[in-house]
Every structure is written in structure tokens, then in C-alpha cells.
Symmetry: C2
Subunit: 200 residues, 2 copies
């Protein structure tokens, strides 16, 4: 009998899985396996885009002052910009972990954590981090609006353009995390209904 | 046979409900009815708190300058404060509608819209408006932080205190909408599993 998150199974693509601890194992069709693989590839793509966008946003904001004069404003002087760097760095780490987990599931055929923990972990973190990124993005947008009013942007336009780009990358990452969250929400529903992550 | 959102049923508390258009009607136990009523009362309470918090936040922000001197700053001069008033007013209207829908369901025993539309409508709008409120709250918080730095708050402290209170009320409304969204998400899962909003 195969277990998710365990090391007992040497087979990379299980055909039999356990629905509930007290149920007997049921046969899993090849069509269902293929659908699950396709679904996992879709999730993996959105994890990859989240990772790229969040890493670029953090790096863009981080390297904003490398060529500027010594009297120009620094990104770490503004609370909202520090929030953006922190939020995007956290999401980049999380996305990297999720990429490993997705690739593991596609390659080995079972989840990294036990199945129940894995689906709830993914969905919960997607939701929380989507809220975190949106909050950071909104605060940053308001700060940039204020900077434009107090003439910081006319003195040092490169600073404002770079922060605009970092904000846009952060919003793109939010969108991609939102779609991941819908997909992982669907997996949770499948898990609740069937007792396994295999699709309806 | 009873239909939700229709006018065909004169009975206030149906014992029989239709699971799917092509299914035969199934018997609904009294326990399940009672659980549903308790669940609906819980949702109604969170709708009421959402309505109170969002209305207070909008009104607080709206009446911020009624007693101030003519040279003091006005809330409508700041984009983020206009965003907060708009977001909280929209959520107040939505919550009022949802209070009516919940009360209707508790009193009449069936939903205002057809059941499938109702559960998806509730969940979708809860999610979108939670994101909207969080975004408005974050932008407003950043603006208030900026105002404290440029000495607007030392000149006119009442302005900043009132906007702090409006922000706090907005965040409280966000939390209450978040819980409503979890509850309506649970209803969606029940609907997907059983083809009806009656609990698992």
C-alpha cells in the first residue's frame, strides 16, 4: 500500500492509493493520473511565475540606489519600500519551496508532506501571502503617489521609475499567487470530497 | 417540489429539497435543518458586524472636517482617504444586501437567488471585497504615516486621530468579511459535494 509523504513506496507512479485511513485502497484510473499530472504542471507554471516576479520585485527594489548620488533618497528610508522587499522575499522563498514540492510530486507521484497537510498547507499559505503582497503593493503605491507630490521624483526620476517597476512586478506576483490559490483551493475541495488529491 | 429563489413554495421550512435538476428529491433531516439555521445565524451575525464597521468607517472619514478651521486639510484632498470612503461604502451596501438575503433565508427557508448562484455570488463577492478593503486600508495606513512625518498631525491632531479610527474600523470590517468569506467558502464546498447548501 502506498503512502504519501512516506518512503515506503519505491514505485514512481502509483496506480493504487488510500482514500481514508480506514478505507480499503481503491483503483486509480490512468485518465485520472493523467489529469492530475496536467493539473500539477499548471500549478508548477504558476509557482515558477510567482517565483520570478517576486524575486525580480525584491531585487529591483534592493538595487534601486546602487548608481545614485550620495544625497539621493534610499529605499530603506521608506517603511513601505522595506515592506515590499520583505513581502516579496518571503513569497520568493515560499514559491521556491512550492516549486520543489510540485516537481517532487510530478516526478515521484506522491506529495512531499502527508496528503492532507500538503493540500491545506498550500491553500492556507497561498491565501495569506496573496493578502500580504496586496497589502505591501497598496502601501507602496500610496508612498510613490506621495513622493511624486513632494517633488522627489522630479529631482531623481530614476528612483521613482525603478520603484514603479518593482511595484508592478509585485502586483504581477500577486495575480499569479491568486491563481495558484484558486487551483490549490480546488485541490482542497477534491481532497474533502474524495479523501485524495486526485481530481473529480 | 420546492425550488430556491422561486415562488412556488408556500411552506416556510421545507423538509424536502432538490439536490440536482435531474435527481429525485431527497429527505432532509430535522438535525440538518437545525444545523443550517445555526450556521445561517452565524453568517448573519458576521454580516451585521461587517455592515456596522464599514458604515462607521465611511461615516467617520466623511465627517472628519465638519468642525475644523477652513485652512485645515480636507479628507477629499487625499486619494487614499477617498479610496477608503468608497471601499467602505461599497462594502456597507453589499453587507446590507447580504443581511436581507440571510434574513430571508432564515425566515423563508430558501435562498433569495437560485441556490447555485447564491452560494457562488456570496463567496466571490466576499473574496473580492476583502481584497478591496485590505488594499484601501494599507494605502490609508501609509498615507497617515506620511502625514505624521510632514507635521500635518502636529498642526491638526484631531484630523489624524479621526483617520486612525476610520482605518481601524476598516480593518475590523476586513476581518469580519474574511470570516464571512471562510463561512461562505464552506457553503460552496457543501454545495459542490451534496448539490445543496445543507451542511455535511
Amino acid at each position: 500500500m502506498l503512502r504519501n509523504g512516506g518512503v515506503e513506496s519505491p514505485s514512481p507512479r502509483p496506480r493504487i492509493h488510500q482514500t481514508h485511513p480506514h478505507d480499503t485502497p481503491v483503483f486509480q484510473s490512468t485518465v485520472s493520473q493523467r489529469n492530475l499530472r496536467r493539473f500539477n504542471y499548471t500549478i508548477l507554471i504558476f509557482r515558477l511565475t510567482s517565483f520570478c516576479f517576486s524575486l525580480s520585485a525584491a531585487v529591483f527594489m534592493f538595487t534601486i540606489n546602487t548608481t545614485a548620488a550620495s544625497d539621493s533618497p534610499r529605499w530603506y528610508n521608506f517603511g513601505a519600500f522595506r515592506f515590499i522587499v520583505a513581502a516579496n522575499a518571503i513569497v520568493a522563498f515560499y514559491s521556491l519551496f512550492e516549486i520543489v514540492a510540485s516537481a517532487w510530486e510530478i516526478y515521484r507521484g506522491f506529495t512531499l508532506f502527508p496528503e492532507c497537510s500538503q493540500v491545506w498547507f498550500d491553500f492556507g499559505h497561498d491565501q495569506v501571502f496573496a493578502y500580504l503582497l496586496l497589502s505591501a503593493g497598496s502601501a507602496g503605491t500610496e508612498l510613490v503617489r506621495q513622493l511624486r507630490e513632494v517633488a522627489t521624483c522630479t529631482d531623481n526620476n530614476a528612483f521613482c521609475i525603478q520603484s514603479d517597476i518593482a511595484l508592478a512586478l509585485g502586483y504581477a506576483c500577486f495575480l499569479s499567487l491568486l491563481i495558484s490559490s484558486l487551483l490549490s483551493g480546488f485541490r482542497v475541495v477534491c481532497f474533502i470530497i474524495k479523501g485524495s488529491r486526485f481530481l473529480l
